[in-house]
Amino acid sequence: MSGFQIVGLFLLLSLLGVPLAVSMGLSAVTYIVLAGIPLATVAHRMGNALNSFPLLAVVLFIFVGSLLNATGITHRLYEGAKLVVGRVRGGLAYVNVLANLVMAGISGAALADIGALGSIQIKAMKEQGYKEEVAASITVAAATLGPIFPPSIPMIIYASVAEVSGIKLLIAGIVPALVITLCLCVQVWYFARKYHFPRETHVRPWREKLHTALVALPALATPVILVGGLLFGWFGPTELAGFTVFYSLFLGAVIYKELTWERLLTGARDTVRATATIMFIVSSAAIFAWALTVEQVPAQMSELLLGFSKDPVVLLMLVNVILLIVGMFMESIAAIMVMTPLLVPPLYAAGVDPVHLGVVVVLNLMIGLLTPPVGMSLYMVSIISNVSFSRMARVIWPFLVPLLVSLLIVTLVPSISTWLPDLMFKK
């Protein structure tokens, strides 16, 4: 059984509706049995894939994502962002982007950000006169910031698969996230003029502004503390996640007094479900990726790509095309697990920095969350906004432009990703 037959079997089973984790695992198991490799490898690889300290950060960041609404942090972040840019034309669209950036500094997952902020933002934008599909599209595009700005669940998973420093990769996401924010704001500015986006007419008295700012401050300070902690070496990625959980609990229980036992339990239940869903895929993908490696698929992929070109820019552009297509059809974590071992060796051989490649891979796959037919973010926002998935799939395309422009910039200018980690770690 060749490596490409393993991939073929996986695709066939997936398309027949078999759970992704089972499709990956069973394809690998079939190969192992046919190749006469000891079956003990399966349990060993699957168990060890989860026996990883860096991956604990994923569990804890999912927990943080579940706690954001329960602790009242989301609402304060939104009000704080509104205070800054709420009154310009298209103010709530800017608020949407900025609130997502701040949220990105806490949660690390696009779906968590849509779930936490989406309903508040879309409701407020609709009430102010935005079309609901425009509000939903801006929300879902801005949520792409979540996994790019640290902390980031996909980057932690990429780092563990590609065996690069998790801290470096997380820090590498900071400047690209700011580039995406800028591109999204330029689009909002353009659309605000072209489509006459509304502006807030209510003028808040200074006393109210001051009160809102003071209340929002502990929530707004969260990403500053976390990114600061990362940059100054107070925390590793997993410790950062642990600290964020307790800081969120502290804000919810002591400062905002909105956290109840019931909400905490609901958040914890959501967390264990989301964690087990992702990690079962990670565990099965480990044996799948191992089978591909034994069959020398990464080496064949290297040969194929390097035969096409040895120029890092050409290869990165090729990777962009491949991953954008993969992202349209494959769940992002599974795609990271499967594609990373295939892409890292050839790109590394061509001289691409693995940290830069990590940012490019994650950004591509996060854009994939917005593209049909398997666009998880689109599904999520269509549920929240009551705009049908097919309608979302039709209207989302213009909102992909700033993300694709950002991707191009991040791809062509590696120092956007590597400058800050190199500076911090004195390469």
Binding site: P19, V29, A43, H44, G47, N51, F53, G242, A268, P373
Partner: protein, 166 residues
């Protein structure tokens, strides 16, 4: 017919109990990591056992919840083609998915047995927990997933409503 119903509910209840264990594991992970931050930053202490215990809890959290996820239809699936299928074909595909999940679990359990037969007593470096205990969550969870998937397969084959996937 009373006997199968009792068996079904037993598998379901066991999966529910596993959820409580997973919740406890989450609390353990969060607490241990926070303790580690405090120890490292305020007492300049590092204890490998803390990290190991957190990883042990992680493995249990994931594998013990997998059966419940299957029961609730929360495993990620690509429904690109299947959502267009009619009810009869959908039932056949659901049964097929459950059957393959059962087969996968069976292979895993045989694999785990072979692995533990040789390495079950190997202790972990920090706390000295033998592999057979350290990875207990994995084989218990997959054994329960085997039962849950088999039960779902039988339900689908008989045309009854049941779990499956999303």
């Amino acid at each position: 017919m009373a006997q199968p119903t009792a068996r079904v509910s037993l598998i379901g209840r066991t999966a529910q109990v596993c959820e409580y264990v997973s919740l406890a594991c989450l609390a353990v992970i969060a607490t241990l990591i926070f303790v580690q931050i405090l120890l490292r930053n305020f007492a300049s202490l590092a204890y490998a056992g803390i990290e190991e215990l957190a990883r042990f809890a992680h493995i249990n959290l994931v594998f013990l919840l997998v059966p419940l996820l299957f029961r609730e239809g929360l495993h990620v699936k690509i429904d690109l083609l299947t959502h267009r299928a009619g009810p009869k074909l959908k039932r056949v595909l659901d049964a097929f998915a459950a059957l393959l999940t059962t087969v996968y679990c069976l292979f895993f359990l045989v694999s785990e047995y072979q692995f533990m037969a040789k390495n079950g007593s190997v202790p972990s470096p920090g706390l000295g927990i033998p592999n057979i205990v350290f990875f207990a969550g994995a084989y218990l969870g997959m054994a329960l997933l085997f039962l849950t998937a088999a039960e779902t397969f039988l339900q689908k084959a008989r045309g009854q409503a049941g779990g499956g996937g999303r």
